[in-house]
Symmetry: C2
Subunit: 301 residues, 2 copies
DNA sequence: CGGAAGTTTGAGGCGCATCAAGTGTGGTGG
DNA sequence: CCACCACACTTGATGCGCCTCAAACTTCCG
């Protein structure tokens, strides 16, 4: 991961002369693309309405290309830009006090990066390209100014940050209450759905990340991830060929859970398992069964 | 938790007649306080600079009092207000599809509630008073309008949301990489620090939440929380008397960790444990030792 | 072609959940 | 006022889910 194969740096960036937020940092060389996007194009990418009365003389936003392995920003780096993924796949990671990586997300097209830097004015996490990427650079100063002009923009930003907050809350809930199988199952279906929203197949796709990165993201070891994928494969829920995933039975995958973690609430779990255990265990091997699923619960009423 | 002892609802709310964001929901009766705060007072509470040129004719913000057990907002409830805690202690929880509670945070004075509702315009979580509370109500419409006037306000909001994002990221990291002991230790020291910032003692304080709620927050069972507290007590790191906690050795508590979860990075862990194991294990019983702490790492160089 | 990195699979062990029983405690009603 | 009950907490016994360690295999890339 951290071994970045830095391509030979041929020339210095001419853009450094501009009073634009300077592009040079130690995260690695970036091949400066010639593409620039208008505010309208950016809004379209993010699926937010273009501000009314926006003029063409509004700022243009620079595209920057990154090769797989390069970092978009690093922890502690001065905050200057927000980033929007235009194409490619990345990961964001936290590095703890002892050098351990914690994967936080796998951003892809239309995702927004860098908002965790607003508070301290320094990036709290690191974003690394998992494939070649095209990223749109939004200078925060420019964004702020635009926000003062177009209230819709500011509103969209609040909305995006709120959504991210909710996503992380769901992550927290998942991390502390789901079994390893359920985590992997959800990971696969969520990834499929995201690919689907981007126009790709939601059934067959390539994992861009290693088992290790998946494990870090889900709070598991890479061995557990590998074993779980193999188990799903044997059960006929998915097909696995290295990083090529085919989702065969998305319904069962989504239903895959574990018993409620404790006596938090209703005490039906025991009844369910007593009534259904032999029946269920006959259906699927091990405890990879979609037990405690809505269907099951409904079937008992 | 979910068994709220709803006080006898004596009369209906007279305030429902106002065109103010209506105070009546099914979350329970609220004793309407007579207190109102100015924008200046709110900014002071949040430790953000009061907008320059702000006039006294700016909106006033209503205080609302809640008794322990009452809900400030519920999941799915229409989003109308942000809330700022003026006094008291609460918890925010997510309820999953099967009724299980997931505690997300324990807000106290100066904390902001409700920002996770901006995205969907419905509250994604539930806020419950753990003690009698005084909460300031900020109608989102009012806030938006003020934000358009005072750019500093909007900036402060972005900052607050970004901070919350970073906090949740740290939570995710902790949930997936720390041992039970380390989680509880961090929980105690963090809580102490927060009390300290509010002017209370950071060494001696009362837990306002049950072991079950702590467990939910940390991704543990209540039994494990209880056992860990007892163990810390026997080791002389803290004192425990029901919910009364005394922190005796904050340094060791903070240093308390676990080995890196895997071969994520540097491979010194083995060397460390080989060199130090007998020495360390002689110092403290079990594996409650502050191993892999900065001090230890430094001691080997 | 060789080495590094990623992946799979197995064997074994430990951390924490689970189940269970008993003790304290605060609130409620007799 | 005390008795009672629901609830919170403690502590022990047991088991299993997932981590850890290890070895072989595959893929990729210089």
């Amino acid at each position: 991961m951290s071994a970045i194969s830095t391509p030979a740096r041929t020339t210095d960036l001419p853009a450094a002369a501009l009073n634009f937020p300077v592009l040079s940092n130690d995260a690695g060389w970036r091949c400066q693309g010639s593409l620039w996007s208008t505010l309208h194009e950016v809004c379209e990418l993010l699926h937010i309405p273009t501000p009314t009365n926006s003029h063409n003389e509004d700022a243009l936003f620079q595209h920057v290309r990154y090769k797989a392995g390069q970092r978009i920003h690093t922890i502690g780096q001065q905050f200057e830009n927000l980033y929007i993924v235009n194409s490619g796949f990345l990961k964001t990671v936290l590095i703890d006090e002892y050098g351990n990586e914690q994967v936080l997300s796998f951003p892809m097209k239309a995702d927004l990066l860098g908002i965790d830097a607003i508070y301290t004015q320094r990036h709290a996490s690191e974003a690394v390209a998992l494939s070649d990427c095209d990223v749109i650079l939004i200078p925060y100063k420019t964004f702020s100014a635009l926000g003062r002009t177009y209230a819709e923009l500011e509103q969209a930003m609040f909305s995006a940050m709120s959504r991210e907050l909710v996503r992380e809350q769901a992550m927290i809930s998942m991390l502390s209450s789901l079994s390893a199988e359920a985590k992997v199952a959800r990971f696969l279906t969520n990834l499929g759905e995201r690919f689907g929203q981007l126009g790709y197949s939601n059934k067959v796709f390539n994992l861009r990340m290693t088992r290790h990165e998946i494990g870090s993201y889900l709070g598991l070891t890479l061995e557990t991830v590998s074993r779980t994928l193999s188990a799903f494969n044997e059960l006929g829920l998915i097909t696995v060929d290295q990083r090529q995933i085919g989702i065969i039975d998305p319904v069962s995958l989504k239903a895959l859970r574990r018993l409620p973690p404790s006596k938090s609430r209703i005490k039906v779990s025991k009844i369910v398992s007593e009534k259904m255990s032999e029946k269920v265990s006959a259906l699927v091997s091990k405890n990879l069964l979609p037990q405690w699923s809505p269907e099951l619960a409904g079937a008992l009423n």
